[in-house]
């Protein structure tokens, strides 16, 4: 006889674990299914964990969690072929509790987080793939796994099975995502002595630094590259819309190699040794691509629900918040002993009301807009670099003359009008 739990959570990433943790803490009998050898073994992100949402779940988690470095500096590089305009903010208020955010290695962090859920009473089963939801009378009543005697039942199933969410797809909640709704991120973890990292990135002790890289790093495809400092390794990665890779016929690892060899990046990576190579899809369709996320006896959270803010490279925090909100909706449903779509719908309402829904709405057209007009990356970033070069090269020309040259470089009156229009459009989709 197959076992029945109160809740089954499929996927032990940030969303699923946050959900399982919250439920278990409230005394709910939760089964947390993970396909990897252990939680985190199959998970990939650039490497920034946001403190606030994690602390809403486990206060002062940073005292014991395996975080790498608190980030005290965020740099932004606008790359051209052989130049870069960089701006940054560094503040030591981020170097003390409660901190702002941290670099983490997912293989370590997710495992720790899942252990916390287990300590609350969640039952974690690894190396088990959920193949489909078991549906009876139009209601989700359990999941079918790939193991012998693999059926298991529950009042509610939470789908936290990531960007490809086979389960949500099998329920007809969404179709296969289009290439312009997902980004492909490839990343390497490069080993480097911690002392060298601290010297090279101008850090003291455990302080960390993130660099977001725009422009030439993605060869004109919409996306970004990043370089983050861990304790004794660096994360270097590049993420671009899948449609862009297809259109430009570039292989993702070639793009990453290009980034690593870029003269503005190369010096940071000298003497490193490759430790890991990772690749993953990121759901970046935003608000417009959000699938159905509530059904009878079922909720969808995290990447599976397309909860990523591509503009601000936020995702894991949204995932966690969605997991908690799903858990809270389930707790209400348990009180009423009603697991219908109508009852569980409070999850969707609260999610859209939260920062998750608000931010997704705010940027709902942003990715699509920048994808449609590649000249933001192809044209304006090099123009910015030329302007800076012109202005700061001391060659006897007066600053007035230099400003005129920069103005001429922008092009004809028509071009200038177009730029003004583009900037306005960009402001409109971002505002």
């Amino acid at each position: 006889m197959a076992e029945k739990f109160d809740v089954i959570v499929v996927g032990a990433g940030p969303a699923g674990t946050a959900c399982a943790y919250t439920l278990a803490k409230a005394g709910v009998n939760v089964l947390l299914l993970e396909r990897g050898e252990y939680p985190g073994s199959k998970n990939v992100m650039g490497g920034v964990l946001y403190r606030k949402m994690m602390e809403d779940i486990i206060p002062e988690f940073y005292k014991e969690a395996p975080v790498e470095r608190p980030i005290v500096e965020q740099r932004f590089m606008m790359l051209d072929k052989e130049s870069a305009v960089t701006f940054s903010y560094k503040g030591l208020e981020w170097n003390q509790p409660p901190y702002n955010n941290f670099t983490v290695l997912r293989a370590k962090f997710d495992q720790w987080f899942a252990d916390k859920a287990v300590q609350q009473g969640a039952l974690l089963v690894n190396e088990t793939v959920a193949l489909e939801c078991i549906v009876e009378d139009g209601k989700v009543v359990g999941v079918r796994t790939d193991r012998p005697d693999g059926d298991v039942y529950a009042d509610v199933v939470v789908l936290a099975d990531g960007v490809n969410s086979l389960l949500a797809k099998s329920l007809g909640f969404h179709k296969e995502f289009r290439p312009d709704e997902v980004a492909l991120a490839v990343m390497e973890v490069l080993k480097l002595d911690r002392k060298i990292i601290e010297d090279r990135f101008n850090l003291e002790g455990d302080q960390g630094c993130t660099i977001e890289i725009f422009g030439d790093a993605t060869k004109g495809i919409l996306g970004t590259a990043w370089l983050y400092t861990n304790k004794d390794s660096l994360n270097i990665g590049v993420g671009t819309m899948l449609s862009g890779l297809i259109k430009h016929k570039i292989k993702p690892y070639e793009l990453l190699e290009y980034v690593k060899q870029h003269p503005m990046i190369r010096p940071y990576l000298q003497g490193t040794e490759q430790q890991e190579y990772l690749a993953h899809l990121i759901p970046e369709g935003g608000y417009n691509s959000m699938p159905q996320i509530v059904g009878d006896g079922v909720l969808v959270v995290g990447d599976a629900a397309q909860l990523v803010n591509a503009i601000h490279r936020e995702g894991s925090n949204m995932a966690m918040t969605s997991g908690v909100l799903a858990a809270e909706a389930i707790l209400r449903a348990r009180e009423a002993n009603d697991f219908s779509k109508t009852m569980l719908d409070s999850y969707r309402v609260n999610l859209l009301d939260s920062f998750v829904g608000q931010d997704l709405k705010k940027y709902k057209d942003a990715t699509h807009h920048f994808e449609k007009f590649p000249h933001y990356i192809e044209k304006y970033i090099p123009m910015m670099n030329r302007a800076a070069s012109q202005m700061f090269t001391v060659d006897g020309a007066s600053k007035w003359e230099k400003q005129k040259k920069i103005w001429r470089d922008i092009g004809s009156a028509g071009d200038k009008l177009k730029i003004a229009r583009d900037l306005f459009q960009a402001w409109r989709v971002m505002k």
């Binding site: 076992e3 089964l31 039952l123 974690l124 089963v125 790939d146 193991r147 012998p148 693999g150 298991v152």
Partner: protein
């Protein structure tokens, strides 16, 4: 009803472990801890015998607290009970001290339910000695049957076991009295994908955990580092083989190059002939 005990160990995955170039020791943090692969076959064989003849399968390990994971893995395979002895006093044990400690634990397990058969993996992948199994058998004064590749029959009533032992040029059929100890080859079985109920049971399972004080008649001088006469005088990683030559060019050029190479380096063939 048989009571079979499998002795198992959690080991670093030596397929991916790195050596510390300065100290020439294994950097254990560089590799995940796994159930020793040979031991998985030992547990699987115990479970198969249980299914064939009825009975109980217990697993026993000595190790630090995280080794509970290895016991859970055995529950996934189908073991019924897990026992772990863990204590600072056991630390630094060589095969002699390990087999002594495990024997004491087996005696205690045997008191509540007598043991008919002990199964060990051929060896661990971190120590590669294969000595602990026979060491236990000697201390318990039962026959050790090493290199077992097939269990033909276990007859508890008549008190015998018949197995195939792997030899260099075949196998031998051996009959032994019970109780006895097998150490098994990988080829004895294939460990199947565990059913979901086993996975759930394993996730919930809490093993019996004993310290030295829980064991009886223990001579503490025979435990851990103190009880280990083995001295590791030097450790070094094997020399890396020199890189070969990569053939490039068109298939035709590559074929020509390989033929001329084979003609040039006749010693390659001679070595083969000498080996017979």
């Amino acid at each position: 009803m048989l009571h079979i005990v499998a002795c198992i160990k959690q080991v670093p995955d030596t397929k991916i472990i790195k050596m510390n170039p300065k100290t020439n020791t294994m950097d254990r943090s560089s590799a995940p801890a796994i159930l020793n692969p040979y031991d998985a076959h030992a547990v699987e064989e115990a479970v198969r015998l249980k299914n064939r003849y009825g009975g109980t399968v217990s697993v026993l390990t000595m190790g630090p607290p995280p080794a509970v994971k290895a016991i859970r893995k055995c529950i996934e395979i189908g073991a019924d009970e897990g026992y772990m002895i863990t204590d600072r006093a056991f630390a630094g044990a060589d095969t002699l001290a390990t087999s002594y400690a495990l024997t004491k634990a087996l005696e205690k397990i045997g008191k509540s339910r007598s043991i008919d058969l002990i199964i060990c993996g051929k060896m661990t992948i971190d120590g590669d000695t294969g000595q602990v199994g026979p060491g236990i058998a000697r201390r318990l004064d039962i026959p050790p049957l090493t290199s077992v590749k097939k269990v033909v029959e276990i007859n508890k009533e008549k008190g015998y076991a018949i197995v195939h032992r792997k030899l260099e040029d075949g196998y031998e059929v051996v009959q032994s009295t019970l109780p006895c100890l097998f150490s098994v080859e990988k080829e004895i079985n294939e460990v199947p994908y565990a059913p979901l109920p086993n996975m759930i049971r394993a996730a919930r399972y809490q093993p019996h955990i004993w310290s030295v004080d829980d064991l009886e008649d223990v001579d503490r001088t025979l435990l851990g580092l103190k009880g280990s006469p083995t001295i590791v005088s030097k450790v070094w990683p094997p020399e890396k083989p020199k890189g070969g030559e990569m053939l490039t060019g068109t298939p035709k050029e590559q074929a020509e190059r390989i033929i001329s190479l084979l003609l040039e380096r006749k010693e390659l063939f001679r070595a083969k002939e000498e080996l017979g």
